[in-house]
């Protein structure tokens, strides 16, 4: 195994699947970059370079730059999926979902149900998300709770390069619509990634660390924040389990409930907004199904109920950090 970046892991996943199945096509704004221009034709490979190189390998019939018409091309991806292709569409920033949400949540997500089980929609929508890049309120949101809320969608949030590759391959092979969300601060992060194709199943959480004292649930980039906090806490004799659900829809409730049964304490770290967010969602499942195992309040470590600010000092204050997680774990250890 070689060390590879999160970006490269995703790129390999796309290459494997495009090579394996010629129904897999890619479309989005500047997924090549250069359509109709005089210079390089694969100049961008998407806003974050994830699809770079696919044009040369698979040609312009299989990877297409689109106009800035998200409703049309996301809807077209859904329609192509309903008619037998397996499109992977890219929305550069998940924040742009507002201009095409209907095609995602009222069309792609619901056709199977509305049509009495007849539609199959093997669609993947990739998007970057997350704060930390000084991109302000309209380019930094997490927003996966909006997708999680909607029955019919699957929602995937990889936290490391290995999972990113395996989950994306799984997503492309999955026959339901999948929202695949990539934390933009992770693209350059590295990890061991096998060269070949492999899958990481949906609905199975990863256990990043085991400890008897408290359970921390964290997704995406927040897993690293939790890990740093856990190391510090371990120095003080507080041993934490860290669970990375990897997919929030479906959610691996069993793993979470099992560890809560062991530790009796739960802290959820999440960078989505707090109200009707992922932390609230997981908390409520535990408060319903594992109440009697709990020894302390379930604490949520999230941003405030506020948009994402631009200035670094403000954005740092917005995002959950190690100290926030540490404080929350110490608090649940005291049972308070």
């Amino acid at each position: 195994m070689a060390r590879k970046s999160f970006r490269q892991a995703l790129n390999e996943a796309l290459r494997h699947e495009m090579a394996r199945d010629d129904n897999v096509i890619v479309l989005g704004e500047d997924v090549c970059g250069g359509a109709g221009a005089s210079g390089e034709q694969d100049a961008w490979g998407g806003a974050f370079g994830v699809t770079k190189g696919l044009l040369a390998e698979f040609g312009p019939e299989r990877i297409m730059d689109t106009p800035i018409t998200e409703s049309a091309f996301i809807g077209a991806a859904a329609g192509a999926a309903m008619t037998g292709l397996r499109p992977v569409a890219e929305i550069m920033f998940v924040d742009f979902l507002g201009v095409c949400f209907d095609q995602i949540f009222n069309q792609a997500a619901k056709v199977r149900y509305m049509f009495g089980g007849k539609a199959v929609t093997p669609l993947v929508i990739r998007a970057s998300f997350g704060a930390g890049a000084r991109s302000a309120s309209q380019h930094s949101q997490a927003l996966y709770p909006l997708f999680t809320h909607i029955p019919g969608l699957k929602v995937v949030i990889p936290s490391n390069p290995y999972d990113a590759k395996g989950l994306l391959i799984e997503a492309i092979r999955d026959d339901d619509p999948v929202i695949f969300l990539e934390n933009k601060m992770l693209y350059d992060s590295e990890g061991e990634v096998p060269d070949g194709a492999y899958t990481v199943p949906f609905g199975e959480a990863g256990i990043l660390r085991e400890g008897d004292d408290a359970t921390i649930v964290a997704l995406g980039r927040m897993t690293a924040v939790a890990e740093t906090a856990a190391v510090r806490l371990a120095n003080d004799g507080i041993d934490c389990t860290i669970i990375d659900p990897r997919t929030v829809s479906p959610l691996d409730e069993d793993t979470i409930l099992d560890f809560v049964a062991d530790t009796g304490r739960l802290v959820i770290v999440d960078e989505a907004y707090p109200r009707c967010g992922t932390a609230a969602d997981i908390s409520s499942i535990v408060a319903e199904k594992a109440f009697h195992d709990l020894k302390a309040p379930i604490l949520k470590v999230t941003p405030p109920h506020a948009p994402v600010p631009y200035a670094p000092q403000l954005e740092e204050a917005f995002l959950p950090d190690t100290r926030d997680v540490e404080a929350a774990v110490r608090s649940v250890m005291e049972g308070a």
Binding site: P67, A72, G79, M82, T83, L85, Y113
Partner: protein, 321 residues
Amino acid sequence: MQLSRDELLSAYRTMRTIRMFEDRVNQEMSTGDVPGAVHLYAGQEASAVGICMHLNDSDRIASTHRGHGHCIAKGCDVNAMMAEIFGKANGICQGKGGSMHIADLDRGMMGANGIVGGGPPLICGAAMTAKYRKTGGVAVAFAGDGAFNQGTTQESLNLASIWRLPVIFAVEDNGFAEATSSDYAVAGDIVERAGAYGIPSERVDGLDFFAVHEAAAKAVARGRSGDGASVLHIKTPRYYGHFSGDADTYRTAEEKEAMRRDQDCLKRFRERVTEAALLDAVQLDQLDDEVAAAIDAAVDFARAGPLPESSEVATDVYLDY
């Protein structure tokens, strides 16, 4: 384009089926046994049939909230449609969809749609599939005058144009979006607006089955041969109110009377084919009787259909979860 006797009979039968289906659904509404509301297609039959006659099961259409006519024209089973409208387990969507979500993917019918402008993006995708697989297939998006304004439709016109997708946008302009007239709501001219995307675009008389049929023939041929999209702006009347609960007071009684009297595509079809001695009236009357019997049978089928089991409420959300 010369139509064979069988084709003419088939066209008439389908139009009549739509008309009778809608009139009957309207009647059944008053029994209280139809659970939800419906948007009836009566008056617009020539559009659905004139277009869909050119299509086969591997061609796709995307429809609207006013979808029954498109569904019938595209070959959906009338019994299963009626049962769906009655909310029965033997409905075409097992009772989960109702009038606004009738679909039959095996017939290339990608769904009625509760969202105005929901269909055009989806149909671009169906056209992408046809183009990518080089099947020669085409994809038709039906959209109302109201839906034409929706951004999703305008974006789809752009996409279909630059990618030369084998799409036909059939803009059925019945003069109204709910209670709002298209004169008021649609800026400029639909043919010009569509044409300005570089898409061949023409106005078609929706009362004249033959005009629709001919315009559709060109558009379908264009799509099949790889020459890209077309727009048909089809002027057509809407006989009933916008939906089953609409008192339709924004149109005067005289206007509605005149519409039904003077703007009837079925009447025109009959006149034309009988005057030209292509078909005779007796034959057509007999067909009417057959269709009436089929619609009776559909209602019987629907009424006798089993209720869905409540345990089905959460099935078919995913293939695998």
